[in-house]
Subunit: 469 residues, 2 copies
């Protein structure tokens, strides 16, 4: 970080520094998730006053370029498009984009495979949906979501996840966060304690916090979250990812499942089961969902099409116990459904035609091959320098690093064109241990890209060793 | 209301009554919005105990079939599809539907015209959107919404509503209620006073209430809401529909606009301008939006495609002052965009091609003709028996009734196959005056249907007269 600051210019130094950093971020030389030098460090490095650096940092924070994380430091913010400098402009205007050649392989989590996607069939469903007897196009849609889609989801859940749910129990939503906000309100969780895995999905934690819940982190054990901790907590609800813990990847053991259900029955608490990637399990027996074991209607099941189909459909759903569904319809009678029925009906047609089940079977095989390639590459190139965490399902793994910190590896990786991510934000209270993982999402990468990415990343580890020796 | 109750059956009387009413609702003989007899009335009528009626009503309320409105009575609930008896099932199962032949003309508000809708072009845009260089399909989308759509909205607003807004100030949302919930959180309105017109859009009032705002109703005057009342309130924000007051239809006068802005500047309050149907004005000069007059960034502008395009796209937007947009991006950095980018990109293509502006021009002419037909029919068939309220724009009008109550007319209309609605729910504190209006939405009706509907409705008024004489 060496900006040229000109003391002879009329522009104050802090403003020069501010503009320089802003440009570095906008032009992609400083990337989101990178740590900035501390105020003290930068003051010393640039030989300017502390005020100069503070003022520049403050301005950048207030504009959203930088983010200060308590007890952690100052980071380049995650906002993909800067509010003042859009870099996703299509024709006719073509602004300069962040050069993408810089990143050769991006292990971003959340992307899905695009090569084998049945684009033609999906387009046909979109078109057929609009062609259906189409009075519905010109009206507001069913509050709970289109019945045809709920019926298909109900069938799918029974077949693939063992969940018995009438279409009348299903609510269509525009994503897991929307689902969680509704659930918080329905269960009146405001001001109450809710439990979630530590680490766990931060997107849901943000919702809990915004809904003014008191989030109590439940430590993870080898077979999933600590049920003892829940039993001694005052939690009114617990959010869990039992099929594939996010981000650690373990499966909640059957004995813990039974104990968790028992806790819910006895305390009249609710279990919110997020089965975000339950479709993609590569080894061992499929695990029955918590919902399928629930005998007293204490499990609220969350599903999504983001992993099994496309993130861009923005389509999720909640399976409520019948009594809660009734409560929802009364309490939220004034609210319109927020997912376009065009998308909902297209998805229903896609499922009705059998395309969806075929797609999942195809993707399961494909992701399994990618997953194997990833594990093989890691073993081959990294050997004992890392440990793979959570290896039986889903679209991501964690690597536990030895002798190198997450941030070092992220920076070194970027220099070689490999983008990897820290799972640190998934901790409510980050521990030193949290700094020793990286997260690798592989859904959107080809096998070649996976192999190349791991080999490049491994070379960073080797350098590290040489550097140390 | 004469159910047959059998005292000799083992089924308790309350249960027989419950099942009978439920069936009447499910089979469409009791319609949403109809008032049920009071417990006292029904007790007397059926010669059963008060407990019997109370128990049946309670059960029906808890299942969502009936709704008790304080100080008003018990009503058949508005839930279109009963949670336990879906009546919108498509192939292969075909359940019995509420016979639609019963309702010949439905003056429901919110529907749009389907005859002249450019279905072919819209389908092409959906298909072209998916065909675009489609990496985006496989990722989560831009948090603020697709840039291409925000750019088109920015152009449209400048041309049609005089609003200057950079795409960077625009946030795409899944409907006005979603927009309002976000705004409440962004402005930290919880626990604070917010003002809105009385009567006003109840969908937004529900959001304010759910966000625990204290809603202060602002009385309406001939030229819009009373600015004095706002000045003496402690409101931190006011929600207004200045172009076409909902539901009364008046335009907020220019002098009140200036005073309202002044209030916002001085009190550092915010004005939330909902321009829900600003595109459809039939007489007089177009009125500049409040946002276009705002010199100190105190107006938050809400727009929607529900009226100008299709309710089923579920696509709305907020134009924020730049500083609030920055705050939004920081405060809600953890939240994903909830509208599918497929819909967003299709809409952007539709706008880019010029189809959207053409569609609006076509619709404005068409709605104007419908509107004229409506006014003409009312004058011809109803003459001085009613007074038309709010007649210069939009897709609905109110009728002020004389000598007949809203509920009487609704019931009589239904008997003749005409469905009209009470605007009573738009009042926070319903006045006796509120009981003397009906609301007629005409967007989705043909001119023939409008004429037929009004003539049938008029015949109810005449009967009324005969009945009275």
């Amino acid at each position: 970080m060496t900006p040229f600051l000109h003391r002879e210019l009329p522009e104050p130094l802090y403003s020069q520094l501010y503009h320089w950093i802003k440009k570095e971020i906008e032009e992609g030389r400083l990337l989101p998730g990178m740590k900035m030098p501390s105020i003290r460090q930068l003051t010393a490095h640039l030989k300017v006053s502390r005020n100069t650096v503070e003022a520049a940092y403050q301005q950048l924070q207030s504009e959203g370029y930088l983010e200060s994380v308590p007890k952690s430091g100052i980071w380049v913010a995650e906002i993909e498009k800067s509010p003042l400098h859009p870099n996703e402009v299509e024709h006719p205007i073509k602004l300069e984009c962040k050069p993408s050649s810089e990143v050769l392989v991006d292990f971003e989590y959340g992307n899905v495979d695009l090569e084998k996607f049945p684009l033609k069939q999906w387009k046909k469903c979109l078109s057929d949906a609009v062609d259906q007897e189409n009075n519905w196009l010109f009206k507001y849609s069913e509050k709970q979501g289109e019945f045809a889609l709920r019926r298909e989801i109900s069938n799918h859940l029974l077949q693939s996840r063992g969940v018995r749910s009438a279409p009348e129990q299903i609510l269509i939503t525009a994503g897991t966060q929307t689902s969680m906000a509704l659930i918080c309100r329905l269960l009146a969780l405001q001001g109450h304690t809710v439990a979630m895995e530590e680490p766990g999905y931060s997107g849901v934690r943000s919702v809990f916090e915004d809904e003014r819940c008191h989030v109590e982190p439940m430590p993870l054990e080898k077979d999933g979250l600590s049920v003892e901790h829940i039993q001694t907590s005052r939690a009114k609800a617990v959010y869990v990812t039992p099929s594939h813990q996010f981000p650690f990847g373990m499966v909640l053991s059957i004995s813990k499942r039974m104990r968790l259900l028992k806790w819910a029955y006895q305390s009249e608490g609710y279990i919110i089961e997020d089965d975000y990637d339950g479709e993609f399990r590569y080894r061992g027996q499929p695990i029955p969902s918590l919902k399928s074991l629930d005998e007293e209607e204490r499990v609220i099941y969350l599903g999504t099409f983001s992993k099994s189909f496309l993130p861009s459909v923005r389509l999720s759903y909640i399976v409520f116990p019948p009594s809660l569904m009734g409560q929802y319809l009364r309490k939220f009678a004034a609210y319109n459904q927020s997912v376009s029925p065009i998308i909902q009906r297209a998805m229903a047609l896609f499922m009705q035609s059998g395309e969806f089940e075929r797609h999942i079977r195809r993707m399961r095989k494909l992701y399994q091959r990618k997953h194997q390639a990833l594990l093989r590459s890691i073993e081959q190139h990294m050997g004992t320098k890392v440990k793979v965490v959570g290896e039986k399902s889903g679209l991501h793994i964690l690597l536990k690093l030895k002798g190198v910190s997450t941030l070092e590896l992220i920076e070194k990786g970027l220099q070689k064109g490999v983008k990897v991510y820290s799972p640190l934000s998934f901790w409510l209270n980050p521990t030193p241990e949290g700094h020793s993982y990286i997260m690798l999402g592989f859904g959107g990468l080809s096998i070649e890209e996976i192999e190349k990415g791991i080999s490049l990343l491994a070379s960073c580890l080797h350098e590290e060793e040489i550097g140390e020796s």
